[in-house]
Amino acid sequence: MVEEIVVKDAKKETMVDTAAVKQNVKIEVNDLTISYAPHSHGKAALSDVSLKIYENEIFGIIGPANAGKTSFLKTLNLMNTFDANMKVDGNILFNNRDIHQLRNVYALRSRIGVVFPLPVGLPLTIYENVALSPRLRGIKDKVSLDQIVERCLQRAALWDEVKDRLDSLGSLLSGGQQQRLTIARALSQEPEVLILDEFSIAVDPVTTMRIEDVLKELKYEMTIILVTNLVQQAHRLTDRTAFFLDGKCIEIGDTEALFNGEVKDPVTMDYIEGRFG
């Protein structure tokens, strides 16, 4: 198992070089429209969004509440199938394959790690929280599980705080620790894409900075989609940023360029500079 991980890492190292050119499209979204059937009064939560997310980049999505950010994320791993009211049109390509034609949605979801705004530590031990996904994949060997748990907790900057009490409940950790636990859990899926939906909402600034440092390293191994309410966080972390407003994607561009004022729509600038509304 160790060798396997090392081999995988080596493979990813080589991919990083090619990713510098930013040509591998990880996720491609075409004309995505989302509406919530009985409550929307015909208004779409998201309309005609088309964008590409490249491999090994941190793709930021900013925008005020009700912009459709979370709805957008839900469609990426087909979590919309759990919400009967949610109507989704348009196609989404994952590794250039249409996800709506997938036979195995569970495999897709396991390749996409999701971190929610409010940390959800499952009511299992810290160890089991992180070992759950490997177990679901069928890994039973105790030694491999131990390694995965330690590795993921270390990467999520939580290992040192919990290594002596892996048997205590994950759901009773403090907010910041729980959020790092959910990141560790997402990493235990060995995901290709990591989605973070306003992860820092319930986390103190120091922990936020630690997680941000972790993300900067993780980007060499996976693609990260970061939805955030903190414009400065998007600036600090992301390579490219999309601005959502009222269910529309107003702007997509290089983060640096956006923050330097190269915008198509002045509204974006207003939002970035906090002159909004």
Partner: protein, 299 residues
């Protein structure tokens, strides 16, 4: 007109209104306390009467010997054993069925006309009077299926009675597990069953168990449903299998209090005491279990 700025002294002074509010508050708390005490009263009176009038007859012998002399002497062993038989078999049937149905309704079913009809049926089933269940059991299990008056027929009737309660209490325990846990699990690529098996059920099990144990105590006391379907007035032998009739404590109590002449006064009280003792034992078990499991709060 503006008021004078109030001095700090004002905050520490007690006004007439404060005094009045305090009095009213005290009055209400005493009132509610009295109401609560009133609730305990019947329990104390019932238990007290039973213990005073029948307590002297209770002994190990009373529990473990057969009734003799036309049920005017001896113990209650066949009835006690019969009740254990009936209740265990009834729950053995209704608990797995009920839990499975509750899992389906809580975790799999979407909200449509079909599930709404099922829910309506469950509520109505819970409201059916026990004598109607008894007649249904007589028609269906005793006659149609040909089980005869037997432990099986009586247990099946009891099972149908307890089923809706098991379903409702299980479903509530499942619903008490926060939805966010399920979503987190689904997001990891877990199937519904994996989520139920690893996250939902382990955290609902305390509530489910509590509900089941409470059902045991309720079923123990049921008389009407077993009267026509499997419980006997008097049997000189113990049941050998599920197709035999059996005596049962609840029916035995009815019989010795109303149907048999020359019963010593203390006997019905003693039988009632054994019955209520069983129920209280089950209830305290359930409360203890709930307290133990609640102590291990998980979120």
């Amino acid at each position: 007109m503006l008021k004078e700025p109030q001095s700090a002294e004002f905050l520490f002074a007690i006004s007439a209104l404060n005094v009045k509010n305090k009095k009213i508050q005290k009055l209400y708390s005493i009132l509610f306390l009295m109401m609560t005490l009133l609730l305990i009263l019947p329990v104390l009176v019932i238990l007290g009467t039973l213990i005073v009038k029948g307590g002297s007859m209770i002994s190990i012998d009373f529990l473990f010997t057969d009734p003799i002399n036309g049920m005017t002497e001896g113990g209650v062993f066949p009835a006690l054993l019969g009740t254990v038989w009936l209740v265990s078999l009834a729950l053995f049937i209704s608990v797995p069925l009920g839990i499975a149905a509750a899992i389906y309704l809580s975790e799999y079913a979407s909200d449509n006309w079909f599930t709404r009809i099922i829910n309506l049926a469950i509520i109505n089933l819970a409201g059916v009077p026990s004598i109607v269940h008894a007649l249904f059991g007589l028609g269906a299990f005793v006659m149609f299926f040909g089980f005869g008056t037997s432990i099986l027929a009586a247990s099946l009737t009891l099972a149908i009675m307890t089923l809706p309660v098991v379903i409702v209490s299980t479903r509530e325990s499942l619903q008490a597990v926060p939805h966010a846990f399920r979503e987190a699990c689904w997001n990891m690529g877990a199937t519904r069953w994996q989520t139920i098996r690893r996250v939902v059920l382990p955290n609902a099990v305390s509530g489910i168990l509590t509900g089941v144990i409470l059902e045991v105590s309720r079923t123990t006391g049921e008389t009407a449903p077993i009267m026509f379907t499997g419980a006997a007035f008097f049997l000189p032998f113990l049941p050998q299998g599920i197709f035999d009739q059996t005596m049962a404590l609840s029916l035995h109590l009815f019989v010795v209090s109303t149907q048999v002449p020359n019963v010593p006064d203390a006997l019905p009280y003693a039988v009632a005491l054994v019955l209520i003792g069983m129920v209280l034992l089950m209830n305290s078990l359930s409360i203890a279990l709930r307290m133990y499991l609640r102590g291990q709060k998980k979120w």
